[in-house]
Amino acid sequence: MSISLNAIEVFEIAERLERNSVKFYRKAAEALTDENLCAILLSLSEFEKGHEKNYANMRKQISAKEWSIATFDPENEMALYLQKIADSHIFDPEKDPAEQLKDKGTIEDILNFAIESEKNSIIFYLGLKNYVPVPAGKNKVDEIINEEMSHIAELNLRLSALKYIERISI
């Protein structure tokens, strides 16, 4: 089975995922009136912006040193995994998440969508990590994955608080 995705493209997708998240969090913050929640979403968007820069730096290093996929993934396992994700069987990195915000009527919808997006990022970066040699920032990818996990924890706390308020208001 042929793999058309190369290492540079893998990083470009990661950068796109981060840009999508930045856009989504900013638009979502604009749409909300809860100042506290807005501040959280804007802070998450800053994290994602930082991640995008990290991935762009890694891409440049990989490109400059001409590291190829074959070096790190001789069996093409990870390439195939990333290709399948990028083929949009799980999610579509081409889709503008800010556009998808239009269908999200409630704060709960927004938080749930954000959690799903963070999960998608995690599973993509787990595959991507295999392409990154230690000097190019393998540990940095681990840090980004950990930050995405902490975003899920943060978003979930907000979701739980909302549900609690709903319950006691009934």
Partner: protein, 161 residues
């Protein structure tokens, strides 16, 4: 913030995820004979993962001299707590119930990929909170297999088109 889970509970959750996965695949195999062979193979793999997690849990329960979970800031715990919450990853709901809404093999394969994605996301947090001695490598191995399941399901989906 208090630690909501101990290692035993976290591994129990992992076992539950695998049981749910296997149950979903077996019920889906009955409903969709076109893809039953693949689904039954995946069910058998999830059975194996459940056994691995159960064995790890048993091993860990006997070791008290050394910390088995390293998570000084409680970050991994908070993440696992979030993943285990009903609205992120409902461990208590029967995944077989989802089958009622699925009418085609394509839909069942897509749902299966979503379940695999959630497992990978949970085990990534689990891996972070388990020391190398306690079996980090085994968790890594299971994550790789779940990643491979996504590839297999995706290839089947393309073959059906």
């Amino acid at each position: 913030m208090g630690m909501p889970f101990d290692a035993d509970e976290v591994f129990e959750m992992a076992e539950q995820i695998e049981r749910n996965g296997a149950k979903f695949y077996r019920a889906a195999a009955e409903k969709f004979p076109e893809v039953s062979q693949l689904l039954l193979e995946l069910a058998a793999m999830e059975d194996r993962h459940e056994k691995t997690f159960a064995a790890m849990r048993e091993e860990l329960s006997g070791t008290e001299a050394e910390p088995i979970v390293f998570d000084p800031d409680g970050q991994a715990q908070m993440y696992l707590q979030a993943m285990a919450d009903d609205h992120v990853f409902n461990l208590k709901s029967d995944p077989v119930n989802q089958l009622g809404n699925l009418d085609t093999p394509d839909e069942v394969l897509k749902t299966a990929m979503g379940l695999e994605r959630d497992s990978i996301a949970f085990y990534t947090g689990l891996k972070e909170s388990v020391s190398r001695k306690a079996g980090k490598d085994k968790v890594e191995g299971i994550i790789k297999e779940e990643m491979n399941h996504i590839v297999i399901l995706s290839q089947k989906m393309e073959a059906l088109k």
